[in-house]
C-alpha cells in the first residue's frame, strides 16, 4: 500500500501530465511568463488554459488555507508539488509578487478581515502587486525613507514618492513603507507597512528611462493619497520588522523566479569565437580569448558554489557565509562578462537601435548597460561587502568618535 504522500505524488504527477500543455514546460524567455492581475494577458491559448486550470485547483498558492483561496496543502504535499513541477519542467502559471512576498506576511501578521479581503483575489490572480520600498533620496539606506502617511481620522494621507518600483505602471495594488512617526528616536521606529490601491486618486506611476533605455522600473508619486486605516498591515510604526520579513521572502521568491526564467544568457565562448576569427590569431585576440576563458572558469566556480550551498543546506550546515556572496559574485561576474563582450565585439556591441545591428547585438548592448544596474539594485555591491565584513567575518564597527 502506498503512503498517503506517495499517493498524493502519483495523483499530482498524473494531473500535471494531463493538464500542463507541452508549450508551458521548459524554461521561458523574458516576456513569456504570465503576470497575474486585472489586466492579465495571454500570449496563447495554452497559457490561458494552464493559468485557469492551476487557478481552479487553488495552486497559485498551494500551501495557503483553502479559506483564503489556497490549495490547503500540507508542507510535505507542497514540497511534492514543487518537486513534480520541477521534474516535469512545468512553468509557474503566473508571476505575482503579492503571492510570493506580501501573502506570507499577511498570513502571519494580517487581521482576519485583511486576510479575507486581500488574499482570495490574490489567490485567483486577479490583482497584480508591486512593491514600494526604495525612495529617491534613500538609496541603500532604506530606513531613511520620507514618504509620509499622516493620520486623518479613518484614513492616512500619503505624500511622497517611491522609486525602482517594478511595473508600477501595470500594477493594481502596492505594499508600501511609509513614515508614520517623523519624531521617532530611531528612524526605523517610525515606519509602517500599508497596502494601497494604485488606481486611487493622487497616485501616478512613471516609467524610468535607464542608461540602457526603457525599463520596467517606475517612479511612483503620491499626492494626498487617501489610504483607509484598515489597510495598515501589522502595528502602527511596526513596519520595519515586517519589511525585513518581506525582504526574506523576496530573496526566496527571486530564486524561484530565476529557476523558470531563461535569463538573456549569452554564450560567451560562442560569441568570442564568432567575432574573433580563429584564423586571425593576433596577440590581442589571444589575450581576449584568455580573458574569456578565465571568465568562463570563474562562472563555473560560481555555479559550483551554488551547488555546494544547496548541498550544505540539505546537510543542515550553516550556509550564511556562502549565501552572503551570491548576489555580489553573480552581478560582478556578469558585468565583467559584458565588458569582455564589448571588447570582443567592438562597435557591434555599441549599437543603440536601427537595423544596422543584429537583434542579438542590440540585446547585448542593452544587457551590458543593464549589468551596471545589477551591481547597484537589490543591495549594491558595497552593501554586500559590508554585510560580509560585518556579519560573516565579524570585523568590528568603527567605534563612535573613531578617527578615519
Amino acid at each position: 500500500m502506498m503512503s498517503s504522500i506517495e499517493a498524493f505524488r502519483a495523483d499530482t504527477c498524473a494531473w500535471l501530465e494531463a493538464n500542463c500543455p507541452a508549450s508551458q514546460r521548459g524554461p521561458a524567455r523574458d516576456g513569456e511568463l504570465v503576470w497575474g492581475g486585472s489586466r492579465v494577458e495571454f500570449l496563447n491559448e495554452d497559457q490561458r488554459l494552464w493559468f485557469e486550470r492551476m487557478r481552479e485547483r487553488g495552486w497559485f498558492c498551494p500551501d495557503w488555507p483553502t479559506a483564503y483561496g489556497g490549495g490547503g496543502l500540507s508542507p510535505e504535499e507542497d514540497a511534492v508539488l514543487q518537486q513534480e513541477m520541477k521534474r516535469l519542467k512545468c512553468r509557474p502559471p503566473q508571476i505575482n509578487l503579492g503571492i510570493w512576498m506580501l501573502g506570507p506576511v499577511l498570513l502571519e501578521y494580517g487581521t482576519e478581515e485583511q486576510k479575507q479581503r486581500l488574499l482570495p483575489p490574490m489567490a485567483r490572480g486577479e490583482v497584480r502587486w508591486c512593491q514600494g520600498f526604495s525612495e529617491p533620496n534613500a538609496g541603500s539606506d532604506l530606513a531613511s525613507l520620507r514618504t509620509a502617511a499622516v493620520d486623518a481620522g479613518d484614513h492616512f494621507v500619503v505624500n511622497g514618492s517611491k522609486i525602482w518600483t517594478s511595473y508600477g505602471d501595470k500594477s493594481d495594488w502596492m505594499y508600501c513603507l511609509v513614515r508614520t512617526d517623523p519624531q521617532a528616536a530611531k528612524k526605523q521606529e517610525g515606519i509602517s507597512l500599508v497596502v494601497l490601491d494604485m488606481h486611487a486618486e493622487g497616485v501616478e506611476a512613471r516609467p524610468i528611462d535607464l542608461i540602457s533605455g526603457k525599463s520596467a522600473f517606475c517612479e511612483v508619486f503620491f499626492d494626498n493619497v487617501k489610504v483607509p486605516k484598515d489597510n495598515l498591515i501589522g502595528p502602527l510604526n511596526g513596519g520595519w520588522t515586517l519589511a525585513k520579513r518581506l525582504l526574506q521572502h523576496e530573496r526566496s521568491a527571486m530564486s524561484k523566479f530565476g529557476d523558470f526564467c531563461l535569463p538573456n544568457h549569452f554564450d560567451l565562448m560562442e560569441i568570442v569565437n564568432r567575432y574573433l576569427p580563429p584564423d586571425r590569431q593576433t596577440p590581442s585576440d589571444i589575450a581576449l580569448r584568455a580573458r574569456a576563458q578565465s571568465l568562463a572558469l570563474d562562472e563555473q566556480a560560481y555555479n559550483l558554489t551554488v551547488q555546494r550551498m544547496g548541498q550544505q543546506a540539505r546537510a543542515g550546515q550553516d550556509v550564511s557565509g556562502i549565501a552572503a556572496i551570491m548576489k555580489l559574485v553573480h552581478t560582478e561576474q556578469e558585468k565583467q562578462k559584458f565588458e569582455l563582450l564589448v571588447d570582443v565585439m567592438g562597435h557591434r556591441a555599441l549599437g543603440w537601435e536601427g537595423d544596422e545591428f543584429g537583434e542579438q547585438e542590440l540585446a547585448i548592448s542593452k544587457a551590458w548597460l543593464l549589468s551596471y544596474t545589477q551591481t547597484i539594485s537589490g543591495g549594491s555591491s558595497e552593501v554586500q561587502l559590508n554585510v560580509i565584513a560585518k556579519r560573516v567575518l565579524q570585523l568590528p564597527d568603527a567605534p563612535k568618535g573613531g578617527a578615519q
Binding site: S134, L288, E339, D343, G346, H347, S365
Partner: protein, 378 residues
Amino acid sequence: MSLIYNEEQRMLLDTAQEFFAERSPVSALRALRDRGDELGFEPAVWQEMTELGWSAIPFPENLGGLAFGYTGMGAVFESAGRHLSASPLLSSIVLCGSVLELGGSEPQQEQWLGELITGSKRLALAVDEGARHAPDQVSLSAVPTDTGFQLDGQKVMVVDGLQADGWIVAACTGQTADAISLFIVPAGTVGVEVQPQRLIDARNTARVSFTHVQVAPEQLIGELDRGAAILERALDRGRACLAAELQGACESLFQTTLEYLRTRVQFDVPIGSFQALQHRAAWMHVELELARSSLMAALAALDADDAQAAQRVSLAKWKVGQMADRVSGEAIQMHGGIGVTDELDVGLYFKRIRVLQALLGDADYHLARGYQDNRSSH
C-alpha cells in the same frame, strides 16, 4: 619634450572651456539625441568654432593654417570632451585635413583644404570594415579602369559620414595587404550609399557602401599603393585627439563623482567619508594623472615629429583607455541608483567614453602597438 601646456595653449584651453560650456553643453547633446538628429552636431556651433580659428590650428601657414600644433588641438578636444560637445573637428579637420596636408596634390589641397577650414564643406574618413579597428585590413577594392578606378566594398564606423560633402576612402589596390591607396569620393557620386549606424553615443556614424563607384585619377591622394603611411600618420593625430577628448570627459566625470561623494548623504554621513570609496576615488585620481602624462607626451611627440610618435600615441590611447574603463565604471557605481537613470548626465558620459575608447583602436589594439623595446626612450 614639454608635458605641460604653455601659456598660449593654456589660454586656448580656457577659451575652449568657456565656449563649449556656453555654446555646446551636455544639455545640447541631449537635445540632439532626443530629436534623433542625424547630423549629430549643431552647424552653427561648428561655424563659430571655425571662426575662432580652431579648424586652422594644425595646418601649416602656407596651407591657410595657424601652425599651432597638436598640443593646442589637444586643448580643444579636451575641452570638448568635458562638455560632450559634438563637432566634425576630428573627422573633417584632424583626419581628412591631415590626409590632404600630408598626401594631397596642390590642386586637391586648393580644392578642399580652404573649405574644410572655413567649414563650408566637410569630409569624412572611411577606413574600417570590421567590428574592430584594423586599418591594415582593407578589402574594399579599387581596380584600374580606362577612365580611372572602380571602387567596390563597404566601410563602417565612418565618423560624421552622414551628410558629408565627400569621403576619403582607403582602398586596396594591389596584391599585398599594405598596397593601400586613398581616394576622395565627393558626395553625389553614383553607387555610394550611406546608412546611419545609431550608436549609444547618438553621434553621426555611418556605414558607407561603394558599388561600382567610378573615380577619376585626380581623386587619388598621393601615390598609388602608398597610402598606408599617410593614413597611419593621420590616424595617429586622430588617436591623440580622441585620447584628449577621453581625458577631458573622464576628468569632468570624475569631478562630478567627487562632488556627489562630498554631498550625497547616506546613513547620516556623506558617502565620500566611507574609506572604501575614498580609496577607490584615490585610485581614479592616480589613473587620471598617469593618463594625463601619457596624453601630453603623445601630443608633444606629434608636434616634434618624433620618430617615436606612433608609440607615444599608442601609449596614450592605451593608458587613457584603461583609465577611462575605471573612471567610467566607478562613476556609475558610486552614483548608485540615480547613476543608471537617463536623467543624470553620468550615463551620457559613460556611453560617449565607451565609443571614444573603441574609435581608431581600443586598448588591446594599442597595447601591442605601443610597446617597443626601446629603453633609450625612458
